[in-house]
Symmetry: C2
């Protein structure tokens, strides 16, 4: 497989992005960056039986999921997707048709965002290991960093939380129908590029994608921005079907199970009204779930307010009094 | 290991490249590309027991080698190294100290080129799999593509060929001393960024790095440029110590064994004189090994001229009459 340059064999005849001077087929890709734009780059590796399993996912699903998780990082940086690179290490039992299935899962998603495959590598290995590197562009004036939350900001989240975890529970229970909404949320997540696009005239949005659960993502924001964030359990957007779950499970799914690939962030009160209007007009759900407190004590932490309690929420979703 | 963000823990306190707006520590890196420069991007994966072995290489060596192979692609694109990303998948028996050893091997080389680590990922896997993605810049006016060879061009190579393969033979024979020049050429290759830098005022050089052997690299150039290349066996630069090898082995090492990470290319007669002078002044060995023929028959091929024969040289080093 190494001898046969697989990636070369699946290269496009033309590139959608005019900034691609040379794509696949030389020692490296050549990009002509657009003046006034910053380039955003993110990379993620997914490993068989660690991040996905062939027991319940087709190779196309795996391709989709690895690329989607990477594009989600571009969304969280407020950027427009441009290109991607793919490194696939696979067992010697794999042939080209299997690699093409993985790539087909990526290509369908990439086409949706007009992304070009500009490079990559295939190697042999004992287990399937896929690294995807994605490239996006954003106006240099936009700030989407985790460190940009400010006191009195609104805290919001897109979509609903915990659905990927709930879908995974269905899979564990032996249900594997791809018609199932929740299973699809786990297997075929859709990154929130629509939100990034709609809000690309708002200068500052502190933004993170929900890959590890909002307990983790909000703690990252609190630490990087050195702020205290308070969220209200009653405002967490949850699918009505999940409300039958016991509360502990529901909290685990919606606060500390990740891979929903929604976006969580903070913005000013004024911008929140604009964001709401923009998202409403495009059918993108956004929910106000809390706010950034006056940080008199200069403490970086996340507080979860419930009917009866007000507890500190750790990265892992554990709640405690102080 | 996944929980602990290793890459985050080894991030620099400052970045050498002023174009890094945000390095490690958010959903993606942010780069502010330099006006008038193109960005060059290349990626390679190396897998334990496929591309390297811990039997004769230290983890630092492996780190060095993976990054060096990637930087070699930047050299072959005539670009100045800027940044790199590292994705390491490693067995659960690995702890942070072992990952740090791998990174130390990279950092030493990266420092030499003022490269910044701007992102990456660590995951669990059954065997060590390392993906490195490198970024470089070059003036938009420079052409270093494989497709840019022209009739009557000079064909040249940097350094000497077959030394990494000869070093690997030493290792196979049970010799593993790192004081051995040839073993070092295998384990700790030095990419030819010096050549790329010295020649960055020459507009067109058709260039390829010797990762698979010049039989393969020259065939790539011949095919991409649609030219016939003739090289002369008597001109291939070979270390005097290797001349004791039988001719078949010597040809195999110098023509079809790769990983010397030298550069092979073609340029005009006028530019060849300039390249020679520039390289001589910097102590970079370059050797004229052949030329691009008048391509009357419009055939893409490589011919190896010997004392007695003139045979077609295939990608794999096999020679035949037609």
């Amino acid at each position: 497989m190494e001898e046969f340059n697989f990636i070369n064999s699946i290269k496009s005849k033309y590139y959608k992005q005019s900034s691609v001077i040379k794509g696949i087929g030389d020692d490296g890709a050549i990009i002509n960056p657009v003046n006034g734009e910053h380039l955003v780059i993110s990379t993620d590796t997914m490993v068989e039986n660690v991040h996905f399993s062939l027991d319940y996912m087709a190779l196309e699903d795996i391709g989709h999921r690895v690329l989607a998780a990477n594009i989600s990082d571009l969304a969280a940086m407020g950027s427009r997707p441009l290109y991607y690179m793919v490194n696939i290490s696979s067992p010697s039992t794999y042939d080209n048709s299997q690699l093409i299935q993985i790539m087909n899962g990526m290509t369908a998603l990439a086409c949706h965002y007009q992304m070009d495959l500009i490079g990559g590598d295939t190697t042999s290995s004992d287990q399937l290991v896929i690294t995807v590197t994605v490239f996006g562009a954003k106006l240099s004036s936009l700030n989407r960093l985790r460190s940009s939350a400010k006191e009195n900001d609104i805290v919001f989240v897109t979509g609903r939380l915990g659905e990927a975890a709930y879908g995974f529970k269905y899979i564990q229970d032996g249900i594997a129908s791809k018609d199932n909404y929740f299973i699809n949320r786990h297997i075929r997540p859709i990154p929130r590029i629509d939100f990034a696009e709609e809000t690309n005239d708002i200068k500052r949005i502190c933004l993170n994608d929900v890959s590890d659960g909002i307990a983790s993502e909000l703690n990252e924001i609190a630490e990087e921005s050195n702020v205290t964030i308070e969220i209200d359990w009653s405002n967490i957007p949850i699918h009505h079907e999940m409300k039958d779950l016991d509360k502990a499970t529901l909290k685990q799914f919606s606060l500390s199970s990740g891979e929903d690939f929604e976006l969580v962030g903070t913005c000013s009160q004024d911008d929140w009204e604009r964001i709401q209007k923009k998202c409403e007009s495009k059918g993108i759900a956004v929910t106000h779930i809390g706010h950034v407190l006056n940080n008199d004590q200069n403490q970086a932490k996340v507080i979860l307010k419930d009917e009866k309690s007000r507890l500190v929420l750790n990265r892992d979703g554990y709640q405690h009094g102080k």
